[in-house]
């Protein structure tokens, strides 16, 4: 519905532009424009809660035999409200490949994979496809469960360093769970404030836990209780996770800022438990589909204190310069200023010569600007990198890099000798020697004649 409204809006806008281009009086044009905008924007602005920063085409893949979509209507409707255009692909008995790309272009921006048991799925969507979709800008939400963990999803997650327990391994807990292995986590805590706001959640969970490896791109979100363990329901001696080494939900952000969330329980999203889990699920999926915690740089610059840029006058050692950067955050509907106090600027040549914590300066509608204030370049020539490398778990990674040469002083940029007080001693001695020498030569030449006469006499 939402998308339909958007299309209507686009149509009206186009109409308005056409009307305007007919060179009607500008007053009339403005009136028409504002009126139509007001009429059509009002209902929309109340409807749209949030929308993804990079794209709204979302594909839902589910197993017909395992998942009844009606049980997840709350979750899916919530997505629709957040402007997602959902397409569905049921996995059944056919084995036609699922294409995520047409040529080089992505067909979808987001991908939701429900637990899938069908063996055809492995051939329909290969691990390589999943990986390339994920590393080329697609956001992914993978839901697995002990009943449905297809090999391709498992291997894909393994490549990311997440190891969900295999099929038929259930997470058990004699303290929090009931006989159906349903866990009631009354004090579920989010581990990352950017993914899911901190606080205690009353969650209901039934499913699997995963082991996570140590790589820094993984953001653990929900940890298994200390008293829990995942065990094979068929061979009860095999244990996959024990205690808090297991994780129930985890997030992953690639170096190219694409995001993935994994949850090891299907019913976690169901209507049945939405009263408990709804808020957690909403926050987690908002993060995964880039509806929040998305930041970007609107540009960085550096220049001399006077305002002259590098191109006008290249930097030399000890010049005073200032570095600025603007950062924006996606708040769900538009770009707004991003505020933080831990953004650092580095001036580096292999190693950092400076590391300065940036201070907020100006604020515009879209961005918050940060500045280093004046600082003087090191007394060392070389090719330096002006770098802001802001990587925080849960936020988009920002790397702003500019490589510039800092030259040495030119031959006429040093102090002249007489400007250095220490040199006065030497200057005095040099000039006194010169003066005395000139005097001596003068005197010698003028007083020489009578002497030569004397020596001549002696020789004779």
């Amino acid at each position: 519905m939402n998308s339909r409204v958007l299309k209507r809006l686009e149509f009206i806008q186009r109409l308005v532009r056409q009307v305007c281009s007919m060179r009607v009086a500008s007053v009339f044009r403005n009136v028409v424009y504002t009126l139509t905008m007001a009429i059509f924007l009002m209902p929309i602005s109340t409807l749209v809660e949030a929308k993804p920063a990079f794209g709204t085409r979302t594909l839902v893949i589910y197993d017909q035999k395992l998942t009844e979509l009606d049980n997840y209507s709350t979750f899916l409707n919530n997505l629709k409200q957040r402007s997602h255009e959902l397409s569905y692909r049921a996995i059944g008995n056919d084995s036609t490949p699922i294409s995520l790309f047409r040529g080089e272009d992505k067909l979808y921006d987001n991908l939701i994979v429900y637990p899938i048991r069908s063996r055809h799925f492995n051939k329909q969507l290969s691990v390589e496809n999943l990986l390339s979709f994920f590393s080329k800008g697609g956001q992914v939400l993978t839901i697995t469960s002990p009943e449905g963990l297809s090999d391709n999803v498992r291997l894909f997650l393994n490549q990311l360093g997440m190891f969900p327990s295999p099929r038929n391994y259930y997470l058990n807990d004699y303290y929090h769970g009931d006989e159906n292995n349903t866990l009631h986590l009354t004090k579920g805590e989010s581990l990352n404030e950017h993914v899911v706001p901190l606080g205690e959640y009353d969650l209901v969970y039934k499913g699997a836990a995963a082991l996570l490896d140590n790589r820094q791109l993984i953001i653990p979100v929900l940890q298994a209780p200390k008293t829990s363990f995942s065990v094979d329901s068929k061979q009860s001696d095999e244990i996959w996770t024990a205690g808090s080494e297991g994780y129930l939900a985890a997030a992953f952000q690639s170096l190219r800022n694409t995001r993935l969330a994994w949850v090891g329980s299907e019913v976690f999203f169901s209507n049945e438990f939405s009263a408990n889990n709804g808020r957690f699920v909403e926050q987690l999926t908002k993060w995964a589909f880039a509806e929040k915690a998305v930041i970007k740089s609107v540009g960085s610059s550096h220049q001399h204190i006077g305002g002259a840029g590098y191109l006008e006058s290249p930097y030399k050692v000890k010049d005073s310069v200032v570095y600025d950067i603007g950062l924006s955050e996606w708040d769900g509907s538009s770009w707004s200023p991003f505020t933080a106090d831990d953004i650092q600027f580095e001036l580096k040549m292999i190693d950092p010569y400076y590391r300065i914590t940036l201070l907020p300066s100006e604020t515009s509608n879209e961005a918050q600007y940060y500045t280093t204030g004046n600082f003087s370049l090191p007394d060392h020539h070389g090719i330096f990198t002006f770098l802001v490398d802001y990587k925080r778990a849960g936020l988009s990674f920002i790397t702003e890099k500019d490589v510039r040469a800092i030259r040495h002083l030119a031959n006429d940029e040093y102090l002249r000798s007489w400007d250095i007080t220490n040199s006065w001693v030497y200057l005095t001695s040099i000039y006194s020697v010169i003066t005395v020498w000139v005097l001596f030569v003068g005197l010698y030449l003028s007083l020489r004649k009578p002497k030569t006469v004397e020596t001549e006499k002696k020789n004779n």
Partner: protein, 730 residues
């Protein structure tokens, strides 16, 4: 009388005309024999260093002298950069820029590249002229003409001055001879003007070549020997004092030299002799004033105390660091093993190796055996200027034996001495006047039989020497055309049917680099190719032939000798985008990186002895091999992988034959290249370019990515998932 006077005039005119003709033809011979390279190949800059000089000249021409003087080059030695304006000898570039501007002024706009290519041949003519004047001062103008002819075509000098060999030496040898010529004139006459000229040309020399230190030491040595021989004179005093004062002050104006003349040990001899000169002058004044006995005591006491004071002062100043200690290059002049042990970077340069004895014959042919004869003849009448030539000969013979490149400084004096010897021979044997005169009224000095015998002897000697001269010309032409005219950027070769072909891989690869990579791409290659990459491909390099920073070179060496994952980290830390290696295994090009590899290992071992060990690159039996027997460290090293990557696919895919080393290279040993991807390989595989892969987006190490893509991880694809062995997540 009047007739004889006009006759003399006529003879003088004819002589002048002859001289001019001879000089013109000498210059023509000198220039034309250096043009082989242009005719065979094209007007192209040769080798390595000339590419930098050429690039610097272009910078000078485009940006003017002020910017050139303060040039900070951010395209080399990334990320350190190089204060190029302050660390080069600007004489060569300044001269060719002046030539270029001058030609434009007179309406001849010539491409700066052509000025640079033809620079060395043009200056060889001037060298011949200067050598003529020098030798004329030593003996006479006949010897001078011979010496000029020799230097014009001697291969020892041509090796560094063919067209396209745009190197500092191209102008430096000319300046060397001009400076010496003025010095001899000044020393003979005591003329302040001549010694000022000597000082000015010395300054020019300082601005053009680091080898100026040779003059700085040779002239004082000459003076010192003269003083020891008791040949002190006021002429010597005025010549040397003028030369030293003006020359030193002038040389300090070159930014690269700066305060070296008063701080470096290499220059101390000149300063010491200057001091000694003052003392000796004072002594001779005192001697003229007081009696001999008194003077003796004064002299002994003052000499001993001066000597003690001087030596202890020198030691003290060196110890406290006021005077820079001797440089490594200097030490390696005395101990040929010094560099190999302590400064591998100096030893790694092929032209710093000791000379093989055939090189002397190759470079100077029959002059080499006339050279001692000439020196001996000079000993016979030991004039002051002869002492200079003898000192020069002895010093340079030694140096030329130690370092191949110093052959260049020896060649001029060989030419001079040989010319003296030959002209002496001709003075005696080519004098046929007795046969012409004796027919007149005078009584013949010899009997008829003796006369015939003398005639035959003279004819034989003259004839054989003429034959030697003809042979010499042939030899010079042959050597020049076959050995010294290859630009080494383009390699001559033959097709299978014997027709000549050119191997143009270097330019092909550099052109590819220039056209297909980002303008600020950084290329890591061994330092030999730094200047070429900068000059031909116009890309930023990490290290180049100006080997001023040993550690930085060692970094590249370490990357080349490390396994690929470590090398990747090192290169990535230096923002490298491409790696360039030279590989000669396919066509048997001997100057490739694997042959230089031990130097990379040695140089990096000097900095990181714990990580890189030369021994590990040899087989257990101590051989340097690339085939199946090669050590694991060798097989793991980046250079091995980059050189042989995909090589066996040219053969049967399992084993390739390295034609240069005659060894079989197995695909198993080469393994997979996970951190780099091949982007370009030239026609004959001489130049191979690799790009550093991007970091994996999902944080795997690139080896794991490679394994995954090759499907070796299919093991995990089995139904049963195994619990991974992980570090505990903290």
């Amino acid at each position: 009388m009047a007739t004889s006077c006009t006759q003399k005039h006529l003879i003088r005119w004819i002589q002048l005309l002859l001289k001019c003709t001879i000089f013109l033809s000498l210059t023509a011979a000198a220039i034309s024999s250096r043009l082989f390279s242009v005719i065979r190949f094209e007007s192209i800059i040769h080798e390595f260093d000339p590419w930098f000089n050429f690039r610097a000249t272009k910078y000078l021409v485009n940006n003017g002298f002020y910017k050139f003087l303060n040039w900070f080059d951010d395209r080399t030695w990334y990320p350190l950069g190089r204060v190029t304006g302050g660390t080069l000898y600007p004489g060569l570039m300044a001269t060719s820029a002046a030539v270029w501007h001058g030609l434009r002024k007179i309406g001849l706009p010539i491409d700066i590249r052509n000025v640079c290519v033809l620079f060395a041949p043009a200056f060889s003519g001037v060298t011949a002229w200067a050598t003529y004047h020098l030798t004329r001062e030593i003996k006479d103008s006949g010897a001078g003409l011979l010496a000029a002819a020799f230097i014009a075509i001697a291969p020892g000098y041509i090796s560094r001055s063919v067209a396209g060999s745009y190197d500092n030496e191209a102008i430096a040898i000319t300046l060397l001879m001009v400076t010496f010529m003025f010095w001899i004139k000044a020393m003979k006459t005591g003329s302040i003007m001549h010694s000022t000229f000597a000082a000015l040309f010395y300054f020019y020399m300082v601005s053009a070549w680091g080898g100026y230190v040779f003059i700085t030491n040779l002239i004082p040595l000459h003076v010192f020997i003269l003083i020891l021989m008791g040949r002190y004179s006021t002429r010597l005093y005025s010549a040397y004092s003028t030369w030293y004062a003006i020359g030193t002050l002038a040389s300090m104006q070159i930014p690269f030299v700066g305060f070296l003349p008063i701080r470096s040990n290499d220059h101390m001899a000149a300063l010491g002799v200057f001091g000694l000169m003052q003392v000796v002058a004072l002594g001779s004044y005192v001697k003229s004033q007081v009696s001999w006995q008194k003077f003796q005591t004064v002299m002994i006491v003052s000499l001993v105390s001066l000597l003690a004071l001087g030596i202890s002062g020198l030691f003290a100043l060196t110890y406290f660091g006021f005077i820079a200690p001797w440089t490594g290059r200097f030490y390696s002049l005395w101990d040929t093993n010094y560099a190999k042990l302590h400064i591998p970077i100096i030893a790694s340069v092929s032209e710093h190796q000791p000379t093989a004895w055939p090189a002397f014959f190759f470079d100077t042919q029959f002059l080499i055996w006339l050279f001692p004869a000439g020196v001996f003849l000079l000993f016979l009448d030991l004039k002051d200027e002869h002492v200079f030539v003898i000192a020069y000969s002895v010093l340079c013979s030694y140096f030329a034996g130690v370092m191949v490149r110093l052959m260049l400084t020896l060649t001029p004096i060989i030419c001079v001495c040989a010319a003296v010897a030959i002209s002496k021979v001709f003075d005696v044997y080519a004098d046929f006047s007795i046969f012409i005169r004796s027919s007149s009224t005078e009584k013949p000095a010899l009997s008829k039989k003796d006369r015939i015998m003398t005639f035959i002897t003279k004819l034989t000697v003259c004839g054989s020497f003429l034959a030697y001269l003809v042979l010499f010309v042939h030899h010079c032409t042959w050597v020049t055309s076959n050995a010294y005219s290859s630009p080494s950027v383009v390699l001559p070769s033959r097709n299978s049917d014997g027709s000549p072909a050119l191997i143009d891989d270097f330019r092909e690869a550099y052109y590819w680099l220039r056209m297909n990579t980002a303008e600020d791409a950084k290329v890591a290659a061994w330092w030999d190719y730094g200047y070429q990459i900068g000059g031909m491909a116009d890309r930023t390099t990490l290290v180049d032939n100006n080997t001023w920073n040993n550690t930085h070179i060692a970094i590249v060496g370490k990357a080349m000798s490390s396994p690929q994952d470590k090398a990747y980290d090192i290169l990535k830390a230096h923002d490298v985008d491409y790696v360039l290696v030279i590989f000669g295994g396919l066509i048997g090009f001997s100057g490739d990186d694997i042959n230089k590899f031990l130097w990379m290992v040695r140089i990096s071992e000097g900095i990181w002895p714990d990580e890189i060990k030369e021994r590990e690159y040899f087989t257990p039996s101590g051989e340097y091999r690339m085939d199946a027997q090669a050590s694991q460290t060798m097989k793991d090293s980046l250079l091995y992988k980059l050189s042989y990557h995909r090589f066996p696919t040219l053969f049967n895919g399992v084993e390739g034959v390295d034609r240069l080393r005659g060894q079989n290279i197995r695909q198993v040993d080469i393994g997979n290249l996970d951190y780099f991807e091949e982007v370009f390989t030239s026609e004959n595989w001489i130049v191979r370019l690799y790009k550093l892969k991007e970091l994996d987006a999902v944080g795997r190490d690139l080896h794991a990515v490679g394994d995954f893509e090759r499907g070796t991880s299919r093991g995990i694809k089995k139904r049963v998932a195994k619990k991974p062995l992980l570090d505990v997540r903290v």
